[in-house]
Amino acid sequence: MIGISPPPAPPPARKTSTSRSAPSGNKDPLEPSKAAKTFSGVVVYLYALITLLPLLWIIITGFRSPSDAIAYPPKLFTPPSLEGYVNLFTTRTRLSQQELDALPPPSSFVDKIARDQQMVVVGPSGFLKRYTNSLIVGFGSTFLSVFLGTLAAYGFSRFRIPGKGDWLFFILSTRMMPPIAVAIPIFLMYRTIGLSDTHLGLILLYTTVNLSLAVWLLKGFMDEIPQEYEEAAMIDGYSRLDAFRRVVLPQAATGIAATAIFCLIFSWNEYAFSLLLTSGNAQTAPPFIPTIIGEGGLDWPAMAAATTLFLLPVLFFTVLLRDHLLRGISFGAIRK
């Protein structure tokens, strides 16, 4: 940027959301007492313990054998088994003992685990493809919704747009349609324009659903960034777009990060559209996981393994951006 002086120094962090108590030696009267803190901690940890037990159970089930998973009376401790993970990634066929004996020794540990169940691996399962599809669709639509949502939120926050309130409610209303209801028209529409069973089709659809939340979250955030900063930058010769990119965006980063988490959680886990509009090529993992069948019913360990593996990217993404999560949903506009 030649000939343009630097924009004003970054403004101080927004007061409402950061440091509460001034670092003074005096005891802050607003600081809860030690006993109150301990009590609060105990209550919250108790809640976490209870609500995370089912999740822990799922993770453990992933390392049980299918028969241990449905044993009666139930077993708390079972010998660890990788059958669930092997079953998740492979398709197998059952052989008789004679046929098994006739085979050469197992070539890998996967093969060995299958043989222990009297089966041989005949090929990979569809899970890896579904997982890849989920990665493409989930992150693709998250990126697109955050990108478009940021632009729209800035537009609604800064410009005089006729009927602004109506537009904002209109955007929110797009989330109110039950997916089952619009699935048929969308299916017909996608067939006509060649988007059926494509990644792009799902990405566009999820982006549409997510946009409402993105615009609402981000507009509140944009409203809190003082206009003076951009105006100062524009006086200094920045164009509106430059001011947006170099002054507003860095300050909105927290809100953008929080929005991204919410968008990812939705598009990563969406079920109905994926089930109804896609099949072999672009279907994501959520419609696949509840249908993993073993012998004599659902294969709980394989489903548990899939659930565990499927949770990891969202968990990673959330942990990465966790510091922004709370400040990012401050809905600043609400205060005004």
Binding site: G3, S5, S17, P29, L30, K37, S40, G41, V43, V44, A48, L52, P54, L55, T61, A71, Y72, P73, P74, L148, Y154, G155, F159, R160, W167, F169, F170, L172, M176, P178, I180, A181, V182, I184, P185, F187, T208, D236, G237, S239, R240, I265, N269, Y271, A285, P286, P287, I289, P290, L298, M303, T307, V314, T318, L326, R327, I329, S330, G332, I334
Partner: protein
Amino acid sequence: MKPLVTPAQAVSRARPRTRSNGLPDRALAWIFVGPAILLLLAFNIFPLLWTLYLSFTNYRANRPSAAVQWLGNLNYQRILNDPEIWQNLQKTAAFLVSTLFFQLLLGFALAWFINRKFRTHAFITTLILLPMMLSPAVVGTFWTYFFQPQYGLFNQVVGAFGDPSSFTMLGDVKLAPWAIVLVDTWMWTPYVMLLLLAGLRSIPDYIYEAAEVDRASEWTKFWRITLPMMLPFVVLAVLFRVIENFKMFDLVNQLTNGGPGSTTELAAITLKREAFEKWRTGFASALAIILFVSIYGLASVLVKFLERVKKA
């Protein structure tokens, strides 16, 4: 606040502007807002209008070549005179109210305690969010496993004092509606907690400091400061949860599929039955429009209310 003009800035101002924003703000506004609105029009409003059209016909998606007849508002009349659909709407309303009640109560308590800022509160907050990161369809499926009378986790824990197999959450007409409320609450309380925690943190300290000076009791502070100040966030949480739970499908579809009988048949499950089991697309479209209008009405009341409490 006016920034000081440095010499460099003075020079840059004197220079003839080669700024790229020749565009007036009005045009720029549409560049910012336009793509989002276009996308919404194409992938949401267009299908919605199509659904509206289908709702006046006897179209069946499994017989695309059959002649389509215009039925006028016959589908709507049938729905509004159908006692079963009214019952299902009542179940949806009951589900909505009870999930909101529990999620707000638990979510608020959690947010309140987390806001005491005990050590490691940030860590545990992230951990508590875990259930909402799962896929609702997968959650629904797994809770059928937890609700198994013989070996299910839930029955083992709850039935530890008696006989775990003496009750079946999903098979019992009385218990099944509570089962879906329980699972939805398990999954979405963290979300409500997050919104309410943001609300608690948005209350500026000086208000509490002033109350401290006035020697207001904790009780007064709660009723006169905390609750009114975070009311917008409560309304927002209600708004988002109402929109999501009114069309609740994936979790309940996997958990009970509306059963036993039709005890937990929420509106979206009825919709699925009509659209994809009976293939009465026109009828299902009419039901969808009725649901949409109901959510829309409810949401606009909430948004009006939100505007009011924001100003207060």
